[in-house]
Amino acid sequence: MSTQSNAPTTEDIELRSEIDRSLRHPVMFFFTSGAAWLAVSLILGIIASIKTHNPAFLGEGSFIQYGRAFPAHINALVYGWGAQAAFGVMIWLMARLSRQPSRNAGTLLVAGHVWNLAVILGTVGILSGHGTGKHWMEFPTFVWPVLLASYAAIAIWVVISFRVRRGDDAAYISQWYILAACIWFPWIFLTANLYVNVFDVHPLMAAAINGWYRQALVLLFFVPIGIASAYYITAKITARAVYNYSYSAGGFWALAIIAPWAGFHAVMGSPIPMFLQYTGAAASMLAAVPLIFAGVNVLKTTASNSEALAHSPSLRFTVAGIFGMIALAILGVILAHPDAIRYSQFSLAGYGYDILALYGFFSMCMFGAIYFIVPRVTRREWLSRRLIRTHFWFSVYGVLLILLFCTLLGSFQQGAAQENFNQPWKQAVNSTYPYAVGTTFAWVAILWANIFFFIHLTLMWLRLGRRSSHPTLLNRDHSALGPHGAEGDIDELESAQA
């Protein structure tokens, strides 16, 4: 997978730090503004969740009523945080793996600002009552072309740095995943927006394509980026090659072949052609195969190195994210099963799936990558182990709470009450009450974790990190012992060597 098995030459080291330096500002911009959006999204998520059990919270009839706060929360999560974290990781990883410093930091930064502006306008648009009512596409319709244009300005450099890559011709599996995501995203995004917002299609097809879009964005954008990052991080930190290369290639093609068919089960039971509904359900279930393939492959790579797992924050987040992905695969099978759809289709389960995908899997992988990348591009080490550990555990418990307690138990309880057609509706609403309260708690925990993450990240961008040649590990003091040689100020050490 990577060259770390043979000791890197000085030339290698210089090239790497040149790449890191060339990308410092765009990458830090995407991560930090992404983290800010994550916090915004979490606050909106908490408000929305509280509103389900306490509708008068912060006043009624306002811009944060449930029907606006909830879509704003999801869209900020997807486009504000998710996409931007993905951009940062894509750019950096592709540059590193292709061994190409970036000459376009300026363009990337401008595109990043435009993207953020579009997300701001979109979120304000939803909150002020101009949402479109198409889930994950609620931004007012003038926003999507702006998003697409700034995406193009970002992704084109990723593709170019792949084309001009140096060294061996064989590309790494992570590069293929990133390249694929670069191509899938505009195809999915453009298809969905044209069909739903522009073309005059049957209202039911528009709704069905919206369901497809959400599933495709998860399986063909967030999943490949998450997997690419996980392969890279695990191979780097454990200093081993990916467990089985043909598994990873097989997993990639299985994903490419299965995932584009998935998603139409979101509108199961509606009068659209049957084969769309059932193909969508079948593909969503089958998509578990490539996810589990990749997941097992990553876990096998780490398996023999439990020490690294205990020490390295990057690896720990990544492995948690991969467990999240395997859970996502299993949940996907359960929720797309026609027998479960009866209960789950109109319950909170769909939301739980989205959160597991976007936070339990994707964000955790991105945190893993960020803990790895940021010290390299800023040449400073993370300030505090405590903060990292808090971030990790509050995230894990928050997601587990949402997944087990609220998504699985809560939604089937809710679905069963809805099905119980002789009982008044009040029962269906009341049955969700404890789970709604639980979801609020989970979001508060996750917000707590991420406020510190945001602060930590901002300090790093300001280059207030530790000036040390030793990485911040989770359970060891920063001593002079260990594999990194004598500890000291990283800039002084290097100028002394030079």
Binding site: Q65, W187, Y195, L204, I257
Partner: protein, 244 residues
């Protein structure tokens, strides 16, 4: 893997699914042939009409996120039993039984079928009938009732039981749409849709245009129109036909 084989693989795998799942079905759904009400020679064509005001109402419905809690879909019985829930799938009483599943023509005139994300609130496919029933019980018009519900869903005066007793609605998490109302001076009799009229201060709370348009839309939600014979597979209707 070379870049060329990679790209071919990408376009083939995604392109095939894209054609079969998106492009072709959408084209087919856009040009569904008209259907006659019955097999007879001179039978009428089935059609459903909606007006521009409904379209605007649907936009207000979307912009305020009603779809996050309310569905507009009666699924077939093998996927759920909402069709049997009282007054959800149509009207059923001694004289008539119009309950049926949702049909692809039910959203005609809307841009986007608001199938809904969850059912935190009840399905609204046939809300128009329920509004009339609630209104009759409380001595209002369906329009007044709906406006009053938008103003305060937790108003227990809106839900009366069999004996006219008030039913507790404090459990409802339906958001109030206060922003769609305004204070106005009371002139003459007042607005027929005014929420509360204060005769000492000579003011009244009246719905803005948004609330009126949304109400119009909600009251058109009566998705039980008789379907052409060839399309109606509602189980209870089939049963009724068989016993005739």
């Amino acid at each position: 893997m070379t870049l060329k084989s990679f790209l071919i693989g990408m376009f083939a795998s995604f392109g095939l699914a894209w054609l079969c799942m998106i492009a072709i079905p959408t084209a087919k759904m856009a040009s569904l042939p008209p259907v006659k009400m019955s097999g007879e020679e001179d039978a009428e064509f089935y059609q459903r009409k909606t007006t521009g005001r409904v379209l605007n109402g649907a936009q207000i419905y979307a912009a305020n996120g009603c779809y996050t809690c309310h569905s507009q879909l009666i699924r077939p019985t093998y996927l759920g039993s909402q069709i049997f829930r009282k007054d959800v799938a149509g009207v059923s009483n001694a004289d008539a039984d119009t309950r049926r599943e949702t049909h692809y023509d039910d959203y005609r005139g809307e841009e986007y079928a608001q199938l809904g994300l969850t059912r935190m609130g009840p399905d609204l496919s046939n809300y128009g009938y329920r509004a009339e029933a609630y209104a009759a019980r409380t001595g209002m018009t369906a329009e007044q009732w709906t406006v009053a519900h938008l103003y305060n869903p937790r108003n227990e005066e809106l839900q009366l039981g069999e004996q006219g007793e008030e039913i507790d609605m404090s459990w409802s998490n339906c958001p109030s749409q206060l922003q769609m109302f305004e204070d106005k001076d009371l002139v003459g009799q007042g607005d027929s849709l005014a929420i509360n009229i204060n005769t000492t201060a000579m003011t009244q709370v009246v719905p803005r245009e948004q609330a009126r348009v949304l109400t119009d839309y909600l009251l058109t939600l009566k998705r039980d129109s008789a379907l052409p014979e060839s399309m109606n597979n509602a189980p209870q209707n089939a049963g009724a036909a068989a016993t005739k």
